[in-house]
Symmetry: C2
Subunit: 367 residues, 2 copies
């Protein structure tokens, strides 16, 4: 069978080899239409001998269906997206679809390129965790081409597409309320918010409370929940205990955590609004020899493996990324199947997992 570096055999080659027409060979190999047992056997033997295997591209070309979907995540090495992807892949496989994955590094230009590449590849649906909540023309292009889109972890009200999210505001609210219930009044915050979109603190009309302006995004919503919880109980909302860092610069997270925990009026508790922030706060507290929860209570975000292995095990807001991925994919396939359903924002529940890093406010350490 040493036949040089010949090009891949096609149905035509097989047909010739047996001495039947292309359509007969096609019928036998593709498993459609009628073929007599005898010729089928002949054709299959020839196919085996030549090493024939069908060309999915040509098949897609004819049928107009590629049986593949696209996924655009910010960073597929991030445990959140890795798990979400796992959920997406599982559902895709069950549906007989392949998943093409790309990561955008949270950069709009990369995301645009990725979406265009996927659309050119004729994916039948797209799951996107968009970097921007304002610039969405590339997603509009998908909609225009009748390629359904499901948003993951972000919701864009204007776009009219499904999304799968958690209720970030409520989750943060619950987390901070847990701290308030334990008697904490001075509660710090560390959140990943890009400098360009520094949220504006604005008063809630008719009250003395504060909230945050700006479009809904996980980090901003979590800040909003934090402020709402504090506001309702009349606890301190000093700007000095609200710290932001850019997710592009991990070092800044540590720096801000250190600044927060070094305040002369140190917060007795900290709410870390994402998993990187959680790691920063925990690490810095250790490094500063602060005892958790005696000196400072910590509530983190995301139930990553390490949060239950450290000492003390951390109280965290747990999301279920794989559930979110599955839900997104299931919604997407419902659209691909053409089911007529309302556009929905699917909210996957979160859970506050109380462990050992939060405790009743101890000896006031600030004064």
């Amino acid at each position: 069978v040493a036949q040089g570096r010949a090009r891949r055999p096609t149905v035509i080659d097989v047909a010739k080899h047996v001495g039947v027409s292309v359509s007969t060979a096609g019928r036998a190999l593709g498993g459609y239409g009628y073929v007599s047992e005898r010729t089928r056997a002949l054709i299959e033997a020839a196919a085996d001998e030549l090493g024939y295997s069908p060309n999915g591209i040509a098949r897609s070309m004819r049928s107009g269906s590629t049986r593949s979907i696209g996924f655009v995540g910010s960073d597929i090495a991030n445990p959140f997206f890795a798990e979400a992807m796992r959920g997406v892949c599982d559902v895709a496989r069950e549906a007989g679809y392949a998943a093409i994955l790309t990561n955008s590094d949270e950069r709009l230009d990369a995301e645009r390129v990725a979406v265009n590449v996927l659309l050119d590849k004729q994916v039948e649906g797209l799951i996107v965790s968009p970097a921007s909540v304002t610039d969405t023309i590339h997603l509009a292009r998908a909609a225009q081409q009748d390629v359904p889109v499901v948003l993951l972890d972000r919701h864009l009200p204007g776009l009219g597409v499904d999304s799968v999210v958690v209720d970030n505001e409520a989750a943060a609210y619950d987390a901070v309320t847990h701290l308030l219930d334990l008697g904490h009044r001075r509660i710090g915050l560390l959140a990943a918010i890009n400098p360009s979109e520094q949220p504006q603190l604005v008063p809630v009309p008719g009250t003395r409370r504060l909230t945050v302006s700006g479009a809904s995004r996980p980090s901003v919503d979590r800040v909003r929940g934090y402020l709402r919880a504090l506001g309702e109980r009349g606890a301190t909302t000093a700007r000095s205990v609200m710290r932001y860092y850019s997710s592009a610069d991990p070092e800044e997270g540590y720096a801000q955590a250190a600044a927060l925990l070094s305040l002369s009026a140190r917060p007795t508790a900290v709410f870390a609004a994402d998993n990187a922030a959680t790691r920063s706060v925990f690490t810095v507290a250790k490094r500063m020899q602060l005892r958790v929860p005696d000196h400072v209570s910590i509530v983190g975000f995301d139930d990553l493996e390490w949060t239950s292995l450290v000492e003390p095990a951390l109280t965290v807001v747990a999301q279920s990324p794989s559930t979110m991925g599955r839900a997104a994919a299931e919604r997407l396939f419902a659209r691909i199947r053409g089911e007529v359903i309302d556009v929905r924002e699917i909210v996957v529940p979160t859970e506050l997992v109380v462990r050992a890093s939060t405790a009743r406010r101890g000896r006031p350490s600030g004064r």
Copy 2:
């Protein structure tokens, strides 16, 4: 532009709309051949208006190149593969390729399906972390179709394809030697080895040492390195301190770790041969109130985030999955470009990161 649910416009539609030939429109839109500035502008305007976008499937069909590669990992939610994938995706993007990802759950049938799907989709190359070291016909099929394959984290000598691995035996040898240097003589082992492939302990000819039979796989190679280190120093190699669990059943890891640490002659140190084993040993030691490293030293495998956050921070063998992913993808693209290169086993270095979980053997706790 309300044109119902019309099918996507093609070059033909654009050409008609402008009143030029299909080939001219094709040249303008595809960016090949000569087109006058004037007609190009006209054509582009029309394309915009109609919402034209190229059909990558048709293009692939014509050109015979899909500009995509496939990746088959055991579990893309596993941090090792997630990071490796990240490396693969980055290199692919630099090369203008898309990556189609699938996971096999370490099951041979799923892997076979995945490889076939990818091959049918005409990927131009394949990165696979094969579940089996013996059953590889599906990989042979790839080779037969002139689709280059690079193996990740596994090496199959018979197959004649490139692979990217770490030197697992050497890494384990170094880890265990580190423990021996600290005075440990009774060193336990926990490794993920499926019951079906229980490695046979066999004597090294002409010596009193033991080694392990069986094909090269990460876990087996690590056991081999463990035995070699012990053998060279004449330390104990009791079967009772060598514990295996099936990676399919995480609970078993904890059970085996508990059994190991409950021996009346408890090992003074444990080598955990993979990241799940590391977590099991660490967790069980904590649960049993054993002090690390006073009561038992631990060397783990894989430098996952948590290993440096726990108390004590763990001494581990660090691999660099993203480097491995990048290396695999780079090798793959060299093949795709048709470079004539020898088949190689690329060995990415590992590093023993010594932290606080290993110490000189303290008060003997076994007697």
